[in-house]
Structures are given as C-alpha cells and as structure tokens.
Amino acid sequence: MRGKQSLAHTSLLVLSLLSRQDMYGYQMISTLEQKLDRTFALKEGTLYPILRELESQGAVSCYEQEVSGRVRKYYHLTRKGKRLLAEEREQWDRYARAINTVLELS
C-alpha cells in the first residue's frame, strides 16, 4: 500500500509537470528539485520505470528530438494522461482536505 501510494504520488508529479510542456527525463528531475526545494529527494533513476509505466498505461507518449546535436527522448501527456491527472489531482485534494481537517481538530 505504501509503495503504491508513493508511486502514485510521483506519477502525479510527473503528470503535472508534463501538463505544462513536453519534457525529457533530466529536465523533469531538475524542475522537480527547483519546485519542491528539496522537500523530498527522488532517486533520479527511479523516474524512468515510472515513465515506462505511464507509457504502458497510455498516459504519456514519447518521441525523440535532436537538441544541440543530441537526440533526446521527450515525454508528452496524452488525452488519457490528462484525464488520469484530473482524477489523481481530485483524489489528492480529497486526501489533503481530510488530513487538514483532522490536523485542525487537534
């Protein structure tokens, strides 16, 4: 359960990043580090199995593009990915509200 939650949260972050623009792996990690201000450290290599999982779910697609003489693999959020993001976000909001309610009571 814990592993599933952690994967889901990282997936949510990845989907959220890709909703703004197409990105390659390191760009996602770098952006996450800036946004999260080192709130939690993601082992960089574990991003790729997550991307692969999202790809097999049809939530992201990938394409290659040459940038400065190097072929990079970019990830793109698909329509299915957008729907998944909306669902995940809603779940997260509900979860966060519930936790906040309990914290406010204490």
Partner: protein
Amino acid sequence: MDLYDSFCRAVCAHIPRATAREREDIVRELTHHMEDHARQLTEGGTEAAAARAQAVRAMGDPVEIGTKWNRQLSPFWLWTERVLRAAVTCLTILIAIPFLIEYGPNLNSILVRVGFTESLSESMWLTLRPIGQQPLELRCPYGDSVIYFYDLVVVQGRHDPEDRAVQVSAAPITKTRAGSPSTCPPSPTAAASGSPTPSPPPPA
C-alpha cells in the same frame, strides 16, 4: 570501465525482459541523464570526475531501478524476437544445407550437356549414367576471365542405351590463374543444368 557504463550494465542486468533494442534505449536514456546532471554540476564548479561520480550516485540503486523497469516490460516482445530469430535460423539452415550438399563443391562450375539425339527431354537427363570420362585442358578467353573446360563425361540412358549425351564441365577463372588459352571449340547448342559435375576445377 566507465562509471556510466558500469551503472547501465548493472541496471540492465535486472531487466531480462528487455529486447536488444530496448536495452539500447535504456542505456542511452540513462547515460544522457547522468551526462546532463554531471554537466550541470561542472558548470557549478564541481570537478569533472567528482561530478560524474555524484551523477551516478544520484541515480539510486541500479538493482531497484532495473527490477522496477523489468516489471513494466511485457515478455511478449522478447519471446517474439527469440522465436522469430530461431525460426529464421532454422529456415536458413534447412534451405542452405541441401543446397550446399548439392551444389557446394560446384558453385563456381558450369555444366553443359549436349545430347546425341534431339529427342532427349529435360526429365530424361536425370536418368543418364556416366559410361566414360575424359579430363580436359581447354581454356577459352571470355571478357576478363577465362572459361576452363576441365572434364568431359559421356552419359547413357538407364532405360534406353540409344539415349546418349556428352556433358562438359567448365569453370570461369581469372586470367592470372590461366595459362595461354587454347583454341575455342564452336559453341554447342546445349542445355545448361545445375546437376552435379564430376569434380571441381583444378587450379590452372
């Protein structure tokens, strides 16, 4: 071995479901990631070797990455690739072996058959058996090569002794291998066939 290579190998060692192409993609993507990270570190003032080591450490445990990655891959394509490769190999062997047995020693040879009678059909050639053989030493220039006629066999029908023919074996050879060519006989009106010749051509 390079730090990035070692890391990628360690990851791939735990992705047995990956096809060769998927492995290449995995290695390229992980390597690019580490290179990007190391470049960012060196731009920030970190020494190159230290930056590379730090980039590898930041990737995390290669076993964990490989294991998780492997779970995302379907074994279908790997097995499809393996089965197809095995099928192509078997098919090639099945096709090649009889061909090599039949024609292997004579791939460079030409067999010309001249029938004594015009009634000899293609199927009747198969029933002929040799009744006499004569080695030849005849060279005929042809373009940049020389056609070397090296064997003459008289053959006779198994069922009808009147069915007789002469088959001449020849091989194209380069001029450097050939001596001074002899006079060419007139071109026979003959049927060419892929049947085995008596022996491969000896060196000129």
